[in-house]
């Protein structure tokens, strides 16, 4: 199988994200960076598929030169190739991003043949546009489903499963196809030490690509107020029992 997995470099989750004073960018002073979590699962899914069915995984990203780190990370967990579409690091809207990625995928396919499967994260952890995957798939004329939490290959068909309130929906897509995966599809492996060291040998290919901005423009970033929470320690040991009873009574449980 030939799989292309698109990833995005985003601030590592867990940290409070501050924005710069002018509201035009994320303040990266204290931030580490990672592959966006849905996409990390996408890489894992791609690697598992090639482990099961043979083939190679190409990881594609668009971003500043530092995004090569995320390509190496993907290589450290089993991806075979890494391709960077370099930008100046400014935030590109989904339309522009999708056009550039589409062009890059076309170039890669011209050189190496079509990808059987394009894997995207359902949405990125930072801007959460939910758009890039579907735009690329449409541009390339590939069938696509999003919100996927299970992938099986059955001959020329991809069977993709997604959760709904009522249970599961299962789609069958003829390859070449595209999917947008969600966290929970798998538990991504950590890189091993050898994997990390091997990833240093990854030759990151660069493909120039650009497109005109789309219709969506960022005006200003702001951080929503956090809901304050307070923990009240009722006590320790048996002495805390009356307080617990009071709380349960207040809640109407008793």
């Amino acid at each position: 199988m030939r799989i292309c997995c698109c990833v995005k470099r985003v601030p590592a989750p867990g940290a409070r994200i501050n924005v710069t004073a002018d509201g035009q960018a994320v303040d990266v002073a204290h931030l580490g960076f990672a592959v966006s979590p849905h996409e990390e699962c996408g890489v894992e899914a791609a690697v598992q598929l090639t482990e099961a069915h043979g083939g190679e995984v190409t990881v594609l990203t668009l971003g500043a030169p530092e995004a090569a780190e995320q390509l190496r990370y993907a290589a450290s967990v089993g991806a075979h190739h890494g391709v960077l579409v370099p930008t100046d690091g400014s935030g590109w809207d989904p339309q522009r991003t999708a056009l550039a990625l589409t062009a890059a995928i076309r170039t890669l396919e011209e050189a190496g043949g079509p990808f059987d499967l394009l894997i995207f994260g359902n949405e990125s952890a930072d801007s959460g546009g939910f758009q890039v995957g579907i735009r690329v798939a449409v541009a390339l004329g590939r069938p696509m489903v999003g919100g996927i939490k299970g992938i099986e290959i059955d001959g020329p068909t991809v069977r993709a499963r997604r959760e709904t309130d009522a249970g599961f929906e299962v789609y069958e897509l003829p390859m070449p196809a595209a999917v947008g995966v969600k966290e929970g599809i798998n538990l991504p492996r950590y890189p091993t030490m050898r994997g990390r060291l091997a990833s240093k040998r990854l030759e990151v290919a660069e493909l120039a690509g650009d497109a005109l901005p789309g219709g969506q423009a960022m005006r200003r970033l702001h951080r929503p107020a956090e809901a304050a929470s307070e923990t009240v320690i009722l006590g320790t040991g048996p002495g805390a029992a009356p307080s617990v009873v009071d709380v349960l009574a207040d809640l109407g449980v008793l």
């Binding site: 590592a12 989750p13 867990g14 940290a15 409070r16 501050n18 002073a29 204290h30 931030l31 580490g32 960076f33 492996r189 950590y190 890189p191 091993t192 030490m193 050898r194 990390r196 060291l197 240093k200 307070e230």
Partner: protein, 841 residues
Amino acid sequence: MSEVPAEARCVVIGAGIVGNCLVGHLAKLGWDDLVLLDKGPLPNPGGSTGHASNFIFPVDHSKEMCLLGAQSADQYRHLGLSVDSGGIEVARTPERMDEFQRRMTSATAWGIEARLLSPAEVGELVPYINTAVILGGFYCPTVSVVDSLETGTRMRRIASEAGCRVFANTEVRDITTRDGPLPGVRTVEAVVTDKGTIRAEYVVIACGVWSNRVANMADAYIPLVPAVHQMADVGPIDVLAATNNEIGYPIVRDMDTFCYERQSAGSMEVGSYAHRPILHHPDDIPSNDEAALSPTEMPFTPDDFDQQMEEAIELMDMLGDAEIRYAINGLLSLTPDAMPCLGEVPEVRNLWSAAAVWVKEGPGMAQAVAEWMTYGYPRVIDTHGADVARFYPEERSDTHIWARSAEHFNKTYGIVHPFEQWESRRDLQVSPYFSRQQALDAEFFQARTWERPQWFASNADLTERYGLQDREVEWDARWWSPITVGEHLNLRENCGLVDLSAFQIFELSGPGAVAYADRLAVNRIDVPTGRAVYTPWLTPDGGFRADLTMIRTGHETVRIVTGVFDGGRDEFWARRHMPTDGSVRFANITEQVTTLGLWGPNAPEVLSALSDHRWGDAPYGSLTPVSLRCGDRTIEAELLRISYVGDTGWEIYAAWDDGPRLWDALMATGADLGLRPTGGGVYGTSGRLEKGYRLMGAELESEYNPLEAGLARPRLKAADFIGKEAYAAARAAGPSEVQMCVLTVEDHSDRAGRKRYMQGGNEPILTADGKRITDSHGRVSRVTSAGPGPSVDRYLLMGYLPRELAGPGSELQVMYMNELFPVRVAGTGAVFDPEDRRLRG
């Protein structure tokens, strides 16, 4: 959320291992009105304690670090929060194998069980290690793994039960101070937090990597910088998981790659001190909210760790297939001289530092600070090396802190020679003769910030004159030259000129100056004007706090002359005990006065040639004003008849700006009389040792008193002084249990037939049958100073010995590099000119 109280006797800022243990120890010592603050949540507020690897390797060459580490390990054990996992340092190089011999020596000195292992023996203890890449191991079965967070919680609980109030999630915004009551020193007033202001008599900064930033709020300094120590947790690893234990195998320190491998349940923590120094300003550390993990677990920078991973896999192949599940750029504190910052800060009275302390020393150092605050000086051990007052102003700058911390970070597991010199931040303070000394190819050693010639390569001809050879073994010869022996012999035969401009010189003046000086000093300072008094200062417990010269320079003036290593601490002590009535003024006149030592049998003739007086008959210890003809000018100077090298001559004090002219005149006049520029190797070592003169920080520490050091005068002075009560009690108790002795090395040959030379780095002195020697206080007999005695043709050592072993001729042994060398007690005083004929001219 509770609001903070309006007042407390003592506020401790920081609830990591140090702050928690500090309030616990203070509570044990009777402090009840305590407040403990931290800006983070409990029990892990987000400082360095929270991500520490929590192991203690007990052997350290430094007495202070080793014994406070041992004290800490014992406290963890006493709480039941410690497991003796054992630990092995492995060597990949012959140099490291030699270092292990040195570590065995230190282990013997401090009474720590240790043994050397062959690669196969390492493999028996650590079956997953690649024995093919190591040459051997140094094994300590008492290496321990501790639970620092729970220890902190327990100690905090002890304090809470004694009345300590604890406030988490409380951020310090300011520390306010007020002027006085000591002249020129502010006093701490209050801690301003986001929950209110607490007026406090004492404030202790124990907030690790943030300590300098918090100190800066009070315009004070705790010279440390947050530095990255990378650590990755890799697993799962079946052989580790099978132990069913947090720690089932000995910790391995891969010393030559500066890494460690420490089991943590089913995974391995691989930590490194090998990567490039990565330093951060405290302002660049994220808050608890901003941090993905915790403020001091910063994002991992994998590029810095790749080489360490390769080396770790080489040592333990199984690590290669283990997943990197957690990896951080963990922050810890580094200081400009690799020692902690303990004690009251010089800038603000009652503002204390307990910082730059790692988990391995936390409880012991907290105890030391608690005792310091309670008794006026630590009882557990002398902490002079960690005293925050040791730093000179130049050492408190970020430029200096960063440069020095960057330089020594990679030496954390390095092989550091006892006399190793810094490469960065040199020439910070130089004497007036610096350019002249450079022209004479001086080899400069830096004493804190001051450059001092150790020897002069221009004197290389003296090695031929006296038939001197270099040392046979590189380690012994490193930072040493036979030229220094040549300079010594020339001084004894002719004369030498020693630059003493790094002396730290203070002046007490005013109507209360002499009485105050007497309050500081053991010996009487209320002497006739023009007399110098060599005297200890004592701690309140009667141990050595300082050792210096005080000169009655006038009716209401006393000059204090002390060594450069102790200048900061001695200035602190002198200023902290001053009367508050304005009767005494203090001035640091170091950079106004230059000092030259002119000694040797020809010294009087050299000096006489520059004046109309025939010098040589002045009484010892007298200060005499003099006019000296220096070229076309006459300069005014003072001659102090005194000598730390035990020879005829003077310390000459002159105005700083007159120094070059004085040097030139002396060198020109002395040329025909054999005068040579002479370095610190003679002044601080060979000349001193031949006379048995004690050195502060080596022979003289707070665990010892003047009786034991052989510095007690026949009578106790009438005037009161700090430490008098304890000192009087010691005198009344009869002969001291131990005596400071001078020993001679009787045979220098090691097993390979090479001549070896001890460095004075705490080598243990053993009985003739190889047993450690300790006294009833647990103080161990060890070499405090070592060096050649060229004029007595013996290599000399100093050390405390129990009275029964201290008699002249007593035959003992000294361990050096894990080999035993026979030594003999020469006596308690001078081996050269014991009648002081030369001194008295």
